[in-house]
């Protein structure tokens, strides 16, 4: 079309006068783009850094691990250097305060890590620790928790060590991991002396290798893998770890990108609603152009080009901000990152952001712009004609379909699967539809049920929400969705913590003693009873491995084609099993039934956790041969149970009947309930003193850790939700500015009619109050729904309405809206009325 040049020319001419307004329109989009580009750049850099620092991630070129000592391995002679580690969970005590807690003990021999460094305070502690002696390195989080300082002593099992240094950073370890299981490093020469290297301890033996550059660790795995498999030795190369870490962070950044995308979509709703106002203003001009002989499409394109141009400007600004944003992100995510993240402009992310911005600006602007095609030139002669001829338009549906396809395509790329993408698209549609419905519903209720006899300012303020060109519904939707995201997060977090704390109040167990050896059981029980505490459960535990499923051994399984293969984890896993003939309160039978062993020689029927069985493809009736300390035991799956894993209790994937394992080597768990923290501390101190190998977990400590972890996670989520809230606020600001002229005329009219400025101010404030209330209430209603569903189906908690939190959220959002309204209105009042009348 030769006309395109002219259309462009007209677009540019028109654009000069619209620039600032259009910039305002697309401003709502900027934050979403910034978030998208920021996260995508961050993800790109993270990926590169994981690639470049993959050796530091592991600290070695090749790692072998097993639950029994590794002995000598063929790789020993190939490696440049090797280091050994025994790794297990154990209580450690700080004799100065008498306090203790469960930690990860890492017994080291050799110069691990070969890549990267154990960063300690003081710096030289790293080498003096290796020089020998009863010295320990203790993770900083643990030091802080017990107010310990370098030079204090720490007791691991039977041995007391001097704290040589505080560990600041360990290669490949994240802050979250340190929070869950803080580590204490001790030298290998004292391993036996601690008395902790014994049966029943869950020990992990690791061997780290440093290889020369011309040895490929993956080739070594290829070469010796078969033997290692047989010995249940797990081999991990740098490449494996790089791939794993890379994949899990890809998943993370993709997920975060989707959250950013939601913010962008919110912004787009704002763009569409602002463009809608723009279109209404331009209808007269379109009618004139039509009179002068411009075709319907060309007239529309003049404005479409401008919006695309502005979309480009918005996307570029957003990408620019996003590139700056990535400087903040490493701080936000610091607890989750295993490597140092570098900063670099990621041009692919910038391109991705700009393209995305252009597409969404195009699609969402097209929705209102399509109306321009339907403008009758008659509107030049009779202005009221403009509104009436806007007919229903099948192209609108095409555009809506385009938007849905885009959302689907976008999430398909990020989620890597059409089902997940469909789910996400469905969620977005549902969330917007739900908000729309709630917003319209609330507005309907107000219109319908608020009595006419309300005083005038309130009535006028309500009427204002319905003024021509109002953006009420889209404001409610955008602010509402932002509110919904933040409050759902708050509510769920509160709910989880409440639940954990609540458990302490009821008559539920709150202390768990485990790793109790057979010979210790009786005296531990006596200790507990002497303190007048109940024995709520005493559970024997037998460890075993899985030998075969329906005759299929691990080796056989490996030769199967991929689609028939069972997960290797099933065969490699150490099953911790108990035996009893009844279910406990946290269990529920779902399929089959529990069967006792009446006579020796009867078939043995075990019960599996249904979820685990489903995941690993096991069925009732399958024949499973377990290996208990070298002795095979043939069993059949007799039933499935549902196991509730959210209370302090022992939960087992596999349950044996009585009479099979009674003589197997085992250890025990004892569960009790203390009345207060003092009692817990005393009990724990006694146990740790008398039986250093026994581990104690009390609910108080769990709640503390949970609180800390949730705090870290929720900080990240809040940071992400912030984008949506900020977008909602931008949409609000832009709509306030767009409606400013109209508001000015209204208040001048009111003043002309005799309302004093007090009444005008009251009306305005009330209007913002209603707007803020509606938006936050819609969001809160939606988040109650989300919290209810999440509690019920994901966390399996009873739903307790977080009314107080909801009220706080309501107040914040409403007050924020009123303040923004005031800031915008202040300028209106300052304008001289004549200036306004002239336009």
């Amino acid at each position: 079309m030769g006309n395109i040049a002219w259309v462009l020319k007209m677009a540019i001419r028109d654009f000069r006068k619209n620039f600032s307004r259009l910039l305002l329109f697309v401003s709502s989009m900027v934050i979403g783009i910034a978030a998208l580009v920021g996260i995508s750049s961050f993800g790109d850099n993270l990926k590169n850094d994981i690639e470049n620092q993959s050796k530091e991630l592991v600290g070695a070129d090749l790692v072998l691990d097993n639950s029994t000592p590794l002995g000598s391995q063929p790789t020993d002679s190939i490696a440049l250097a090797q280091a050994d580690e025994i790794n297990f969970a154990s209580m450690v005590a700080f004799p100065s305060s008498g306090e203790s807690r469960l930690t990860q003990v890492r017994v080291l021999e050799g110069d691990f890590p070969f890549y990267g460094k154990l960063e300690t305070l003081p710096v030289e502690a790293e080498s003096t620790f290796r020089a020998g002696g009863r010295k320990a390195l203790v993770e900083k989080i643990l030091m802080a928790q017990f107010n310990a300082v370098v030079g204090d002593s720490i007791k691991v099992g039977d041995v007391t060590f001097v704290i040589e240094g505080e560990l600041q950073k360990v290669p490949g370890q994240t802050g979250i991991a340190a929070t869950v299981a803080p580590a204490v490093y001790i030298p290998m020469e004292y391993a036996q002396e601690t008395g902790l290297i014994q049966f029943g301890s869950r020990l992990k033996y690791l061997r780290y290798y440093q290889l020369s550059d011309d040895v490929n660790p993956d080739e070594l795995v290829e070469r010796y893998g078969e033997q290692w498999q047989e010995d249940r030795i797990d081999a991990d190369t740098v490449e494996d770890r790089r791939r794993q870490t890379g994949r899990s962070f890809d998943n993370l950044t993709n997920f975060l990108s989707l959250v950013a995308f939601i913010a962008l979509l919110l912004g787009c709703v704002g763009v569409a609603s602002a463009v809608n106002v723009f279109v209404k203003e331009k209808l007269a001009s379109v009618a004139v152009l039509r009179c002068l002989g411009v075709s319907a499409w060309d007239a529309m394109k003049i404005y479409l080009f401008q919006i695309l141009l502005m979309g480009l400007v918005g996307s570029v600004i957003g990408s620019f901000l996003g590139t700056a944003l990535q400087f903040v992100l490493p701080t936000v995510f610091k607890d989750f990152l295993p490597v140092e993240v570098s900063m670099a402009v990621s041009w692919s992310s910038v391109g991705f952001g700009i393209l995305t911005g252009l597409i969404v600006a195009f699609l969402f602007a097209l929705l209102p712009l399509l109306k321009m095609r339907k403008v009758s030139p008659m509107a030049t002669l009779r202005p009221e004609e403009g509104e009436t001829t806007l007919k229903k338009d099948p192209l609108r549906w095409a555009v809506i379909l385009g938007i849905l396809l885009f959302i689907f395509g976008f999430s398909y790329i990020l989620l890597d699967g059409w089902k997940a993408a469909l789910g996400f698209t469905g969620f977005v549609v549902f969330a917007f539809a739900a908000l729309w419905a709630v917003a319209i519903g609330i507005m309907w209720v107000i219109k319908r049920f608020l009595p006419i006899s309300l005083n005038y300012p309130i009535r006028q303020a309500l009427a204002n929400l319905y003024r021509p060109n109002n953006q009420t519904v889209s404001l409610i939707a955008t602010i509402g969705l932002g509110t919904a995201m933040i409050s759902t997060l708050f509510f769920i977090q509160g709910q989880l913590l409440d639940e954990a704390k609540f458990a302490d109040k009821e008559d539920q167990p709150n202390m768990l003693l485990f790793d109790i050896q057979d010979y210790q059981v009786d005296s531990v029980i006596t200790s507990v009873k002497n303190r007048d505490l109940p024995i709520l459960q005493q559970v024997p535990i037998v460890t075993m491995a899985l030998e075969s499923i329906n005759g299929m051994t691990k080796k056989g399984n490996d030769t199967l084609p991929d689609e028939e293969k069972r997960s290797r984890g099933l065969y490699n896993r150490e099953f911790r099993v108990t035996y009893r003939d009844t279910l406990i309160s946290s269990e529920r039978l779902l399929k089959g039934k529990l069967r006792k062993v009446e006579n020796p020689g009867d078939s043995i029927f075990v019960s599996f956790d249904q979820g685990y069985a489903m995941r690993t493809g096991l069925n009732v009736g399958d024949e499973i041969i377990f290996n208990v300390q070298g002795r095979p035991i043939k069993t059949y799956i007799g039933s499935f149970r549902d196991v509730k894993f959210n209370q302090v209790s022992t939960n087992f994937l596999v349950l044996f009947p009585e009479g099979v394992l009674n003589n197997a080597p085992k250890f025990h768990v004892v569960i009790t309930k203390t009345k207060n923290d003092r009692q817990s501390a005393d009990m724990q101190a006694e146990i740790v003193r008398k039986y250093p190998n026994i581990s104690v977990i009390n609910l108080g400590a769990i709640v503390e850790t949970l609180e800390e972890i949730l705090g870290k996670i929720s900080f990240v989520i809040q940071f992400m939700a912030f984008f949506s809230i900020a977008t909602g606020i931008l949409v609000l600001i832009s709509s306030l500015i767009i409606s400013k002229y109209q508001r000015m005329r209204e208040s001048i009219l009111l003043r002309t009619l005799g309302a004093d400025s007090g009444v005008v101010g009251k009306i305005n404030t009330m209007e913002y109050f209603f707007l803020g209330s509606l938006a936050s209430l819609s969001g809160i209603v939606l988040s109650f729904l989300a919290t209810y569903l999440l509690s019920k189906f994901v966390f399996q908690l009873p739903f307790r309405g977080p009314y107080l939190e909801a009220f706080m959220v309501y107040l914040c959002i409403t007050i924020l809206t009123i303040i923004l309204g005031w800031l915008n209105g202040r300028k209106i009042i300052k304008k001289a009325p004549m200036e306004i009348l002239r336009g």
Partner: protein
């Protein structure tokens, strides 16, 4: 030669189950170069008739043939092309594009016809209507009379065969109105354009060759000057 012929044209509006007949069996013919006035009380259907003649709207029945093209046989975009080719407009409320300068407003019809000399032509026309020194001004920077002069320049820019004017002086004071009238009639004479003028001002109507008096959607009488 007849440039515009209106045959049995009716226009009805359906609102709910009420049918409102705004124009009822209107017939007339206009020769090239003629100037006519359509007069009548408010609400009599003048604007509706003008819209139909210019192809802005379609009639319920009957036929409007402009320069040999029957509008009812053309699509909306074909009618737009016909307007660009043959028709000029002057509106009661000027209808300049607010985001374009005076010059650019006048250039639009020329550019639509892809004329290379659009700018020179437009400047010439603006000079003719006495706005040589206001060419870079935007409509909001111009008075009503000046805006209407720009709009006249725009109307004559594509050398239309027929010019439609709906109450061109309706929004102007008497003095300015008279000046605008002079401008329209002078240019009209100079270019030999056909002129169709809607007005309720009898003095203005008298300056045309023929007056069509319309009342209640029907032609009452035709007065030949």
């Amino acid at each position: 030669m007849s440039i515009l012929s209106v045959k049995d044209v009716s226009k009805t509006y359906q609102s709910g189950n009420r049918r409102l007949t705004v124009l009822d069996q209107v017939n007339f013919d206009i020769q090239a170069g003629e100037s006519i006035a359509i007069v009548g009380p408010s609400g009599s259907g003048k604007t509706t008739l003008l819209g139909l003649c210019a192809g802005l709207d379609s009639s319920s029945t009957g036929s409007v043939i402009l320069n040999g093209n029957a509008f009812e046989k053309l699509s909306e975009d074909q009618r737009a092309a016909a307007r660009s080719r043959d028709v000029g407009f002057i509106f009661q409320n000027f209808q300049l594009l607010p985001t374009l300068t005076a010059l650019e407003n006048v250039m639009v019809p020329l550019e639509l016809k892809k004329r290379k000399d659009a700018k020179e032509r437009a400047l010439e026309l603006l000079e003719k209507v006495g706005l040589k020194d206001r060419v870079t001004h935007y409509p909001t920077q111009l008075s009503g009379g000046e805006q209407q002069r720009v709009s006249i320049a725009r109307a004559f820019a594509n050398e239309p065969k027929i010019l439609f004017a709906d109450e061109p002086t309706g929004n102007l004071d008497t003095e300015t109105g008279e000046m605008i009238e002079d401008l329209i009639f002078n240019l009209n004479k100079e270019k030999g354009t056909t002129l169709i003028l809607v007005t309720h001002d009898p003095e203005l109507a008298k300056r045309t060759d023929r007056i069509i008096n319309i009342k209640g959607g029907k032609i009452q009488e035709e007065i030949h000057g």
